[in-house]
Subunit: 339 residues, 4 copies
């Protein structure tokens, strides 16, 4: 049984474990004030090409989202998210637990646009309703789609005009940036959003996300929020060492490229066999539609999520590849598909 269930089915890339081993007995400060974390942050600033951003290393995606969003909003302000947004339906009300409503917008491709947001703004006109303030987007999205530069520029422009904050969940940012269809760089993202994070957990780390705060107004006292929400690891070095290894010579991007290449192979094979897809997903998650009989057959040899019922006889499944996905497994899967 080989799993295409998600991109966190294995441990960490061996180089990361090795880096943990090598630094293991060095004594250093706790709570992210160690040299490794500091170096990782400086390194990331260099890679982003910005010395004026603040970077914090946190343990996971939900932790990062809830810490950032609750720190950025005042009590009456709400987040806006696409109906597929991870914070909306898959984080157990973590944002609401910090006091903030999330306004959902129905879209087909997991992506928000100025006009979709505008509709929501128009419905929120006075103090009897929450005040929409933060636009939450994911890149890649929860259904594998990505934002291109023009789309992000339009969102940036609109948010500035409407005094909204733009926040990007980058749990799978590596795969998004390394997609053949992407025309965005980390530097461009940093100038188009108010804050975003670079996901480590789903791209080769044991755990860890790097939150990049781009707008000055959001930077103050941020470490207080991390501590208050339980995200300040005593051995913060564990995050620093991993990000240092991921970014000191492009490992992060190599791992994302591998994940994408494996997804490309799967996608190409499926297209050849005339299968269709639920979404246009040029990243490490693809959502092919299969007859249920074939799904049953595939489940004997592969683990994956059944994503959505299409009709009585067909369903979309989700196949996720990662840095650890073996080419042999992909080849085997494509062969099985042909039969």
């Amino acid at each position: 049984m080989y799993s295409f269930k998600n991109d966190y089915s294995e441990g960490a890339h061996p180089r990361i474990l090795n880096a943990l081993l090598e630094s293991n007995l060095v004594q250093d400060e706790g709570y992210g004030e160690d040299q490794f974390s500091r170096e990782a942050i400086e390194l990331l600033k260099g890679i982003i090409g910005r010395t004026d951003v603040d970077i914090h290393l946190l343990s996971g995606g939900t932790q990062t989202n809830l810490t950032a969003i609750s720190a950025f909003l005042r009590p009456h302000e709400a987040a806006i998210a696409a109906n597929t947004g991870h914070i909306l339906g898959h984080e157990t009300g973590a944002i609401e637990a910090t006091g903030h409503k999330i306004l959902s917008i129905d879209v087909d491709d997991g992506k928000l646009t100025p006009s979709a947001i505008q509709t929501t703004l128009e419905l929120h006109t006075d103090e009897h309703m929450v005040k929409p303030k933060l636009v939450y987007i994911s890149n890649s999205t929860e259904i594998g789609t990505i934002y291109n530069k023009k789309e992000l520029e339009q969102l940036n422009e609109y948010c500035k005009l409407k005094n909204l904050l733009l926040y990007m969940d980058g749990a799978r940012l590596g795969s998004a940036l390394c997609s053949e269809e992407s025309d965005l760089t980390l530097n461009e993202i940093s100038s188009l959003v108010d804050a975003f994070y670079i996901g480590g957990t789903k791209n080769g780390a044991l755990l860890g996300e790097a939150l990049v705060i781009c707008s000055d107004i959001l930077k103050e006292d941020f470490r207080y929020h991390i501590k208050q929400k339980g995200g300040l690891l005593a051995k913060g070095r564990v995050l620093g060492i991993q990000f240092l290894e991921l970014f000191r010579d492009n490992l992060f991007f190599e791992l994302a490229l591998h994940a994408n290449k494996m997804a490309d192979m799967l996608r190409d094979a499926l297209i050849t066999e005339n299968y269709t897809f639920l979404t246009h997903a040029p990243t490490n998650q693809i959502f092919p539609i299969f007859p249920n009989a074939i799904i049953n057959e595939l489940q004997r040899k592969y683990a994956f999520h059944i994503w959505e019922k299409i009709d009585e006889n067909n369903s979309a499944i989700r196949l996720v590849t990662s840095w650890a996905t073996k080419e042999e497994a992909v080849i085997a899967f494509t062969k099985d598909i042909k039969q």
Copy 2:
């Protein structure tokens, strides 16, 4: 410069990193539903000698405290803590951020007693005040002291009588249990408190605490709370693998014994030199009182916290030992003290 600053200055015990390496490429479920976490939990139940407790693996102490306490209390209920309690002054209002007041009780030794709690209960008589509901204790405490069996039995009896929950923060439970002065076992603790946690981070793990919920009434839906508060790691296996290694053959206790032995050596040497201590601390934290001139001298070669000013000329410092503390360093320190 050798550091006695805390017990999380290094990475993890090498066997733990090795365990992570060996299991690294095994594919498994996410979010703590992997085989390693399951095995670790079963193993812990065996060691505690209770099949009827629920165990959850979380990432850190503040995360565990805030998740558990907010899950256990209704909105109007408060926690009670000693004035030194970690949740009171060193977690950035994490408990209050979930909506609950902490009532502080002044004590000298970091430990709560029925009579101290009684005084607080008597002040909270009606609905204009919060309702005291959960008694938070630490073992070992933040100032190195420990609860013995009789003290814990008295607390248990009193809490039952008053319908209070008893919760033990076990960030340094290993050191407490392995103290020569301790007469408590994990099994006894599990029958005397409603919930407690076994700290991994400060006893050899990269990160990780094992929360043990003993009272049935507190068990329901607990994983929802972990997820909502951001503590459910995608690669939950990281915690499972570590606890499996810590407990499969007593490594956890060996590491705590080493830490305590190092502290014993320091303590004995200081007693021999007629130094006094701020607290009676038979664990891996000791608080000797030194003339400021000697502190200045020591700071040239050792890192440690200055804990409290005693008078114009003397201060208490905190020396913390750990699984990683080197005997040579301890010997060097004791030699320096003699001079």
Copy 3:
């Protein structure tokens, strides 16, 4: 300019002010422990026909909803509401501010049904999502519709089956119960829901809602929650005196009957003129659809809300009547409609 904007445009029914005057200089206890509040609560129990319910007097609808719902739910539990539910879009995120998500269900008539709820339950299957726990319904609804006995029995049965709490917002319960189409009594409601409130503010009081807690499990310590959320008035007598006056001889129902009669007159006149309505609303709120030109004309003499755009040329407006609505004004309006 005569206002049909809402049912809180005037002060209180004169008898209520008179009752406040008559009792004014009597000295009594604060915070709802006065004799008036106690008597009002006993009186209400008699009218409901239940001595085993708990009743609390609160200042307003949002206050009551947020206090009750936050008291009833654990942190990970969510409320379910129709898309028109007042708590969802018109209380500035008051429920979310206490930490709880509201799950919205799209319906046409403002009313929830077991099958609509079932769809939501099926989507919430594990700890990565909130746990649906409380079903929020309004009677009458925000768009003037009402629940009949059979519908409420079905909801009750379903909620019991699924271990859900059923909560009825009764801001306009007087009008609902006095509707010609209603077949429900207060006694029946008290046995079909877990908690509900009887709205005073929109039916003749200066302010005040009577929350009735029917299920034993929700009763404990409720006054703590009122105080904590700021709803425990120092001069709680103000609420007690009003409810005493409203219920000592059926004034509450007479006022609702008057409001409904005024709405009936408006509705009948509009039907005669062949106007249609947005909803089937047999209560004190009606939603006729008019050509925009006529709306413009009406706005010269009457105040009301434009509720919803129907198409380019037509809109639905909301007309609300109350205990204070003058028959002359209604007659004048109907005459104007005929022209």
Copy 4:
């Protein structure tokens, strides 16, 4: 039995009820947008002598405190209060329920000073602790003492220096300002604090407090917070009409003067009889110390709170006077004391 228990034992001053009666059938807007509320606010601005403050009318003290403090603070920021502060021990954790810790400072007279605050600031040095941000003071305090101009200027200066907000709870501000020992005006207060409220409930209104926001930075979107916390009354006019009546010709101050005069009579009589007091309280609350035997005797004819045990044989009681206190009752009490 005559009650000196508190200043909210009766209804409202008759002129206030009369004002409610006279305006009763005027139709107006809801939620505080009515002409009465607007006029009351303009009137108050004139009396304060400031057109640049924002004023909001809320229903009660706890509601006002929790709405204001939660609106003013970011999640990691804490309030500072004297150990007697109302928010600390008598509002059921209302502030903590919005997520904020209150740091308590032990003082003898209910009043904070720069040096007392400084001690707390020095203990809160980094992100592992909450960040002290808002200084909560009461005037008069919970034990009847008042701030003079110089003390308030010193607090203002210190708070500005330390970037702290200064907030004054004015539940009994009328009595404080009308004390013979007070040298403060509303105008001066408005320039020395960032926000304060003028209490109506304890000075002749049925309910109602006027929150005055003096600092621009705290003004934005405040009505959202009132609504979210349940404090925006549908019939906001009830508050507007009362404040209009209280301030259109000094009724507010006359009522406070009466309350103070009654307390003065009690105090003078007690001094003549050589009784001592727990605090120096020149307002409408006094705390004489009596032998327990005398207290028992007094309790047969008068209602009051026993405030604090002084020793085995003596206790301090609290006597509260108000706008409604009858001179005959005071004279009777003083006579009884002489015997």
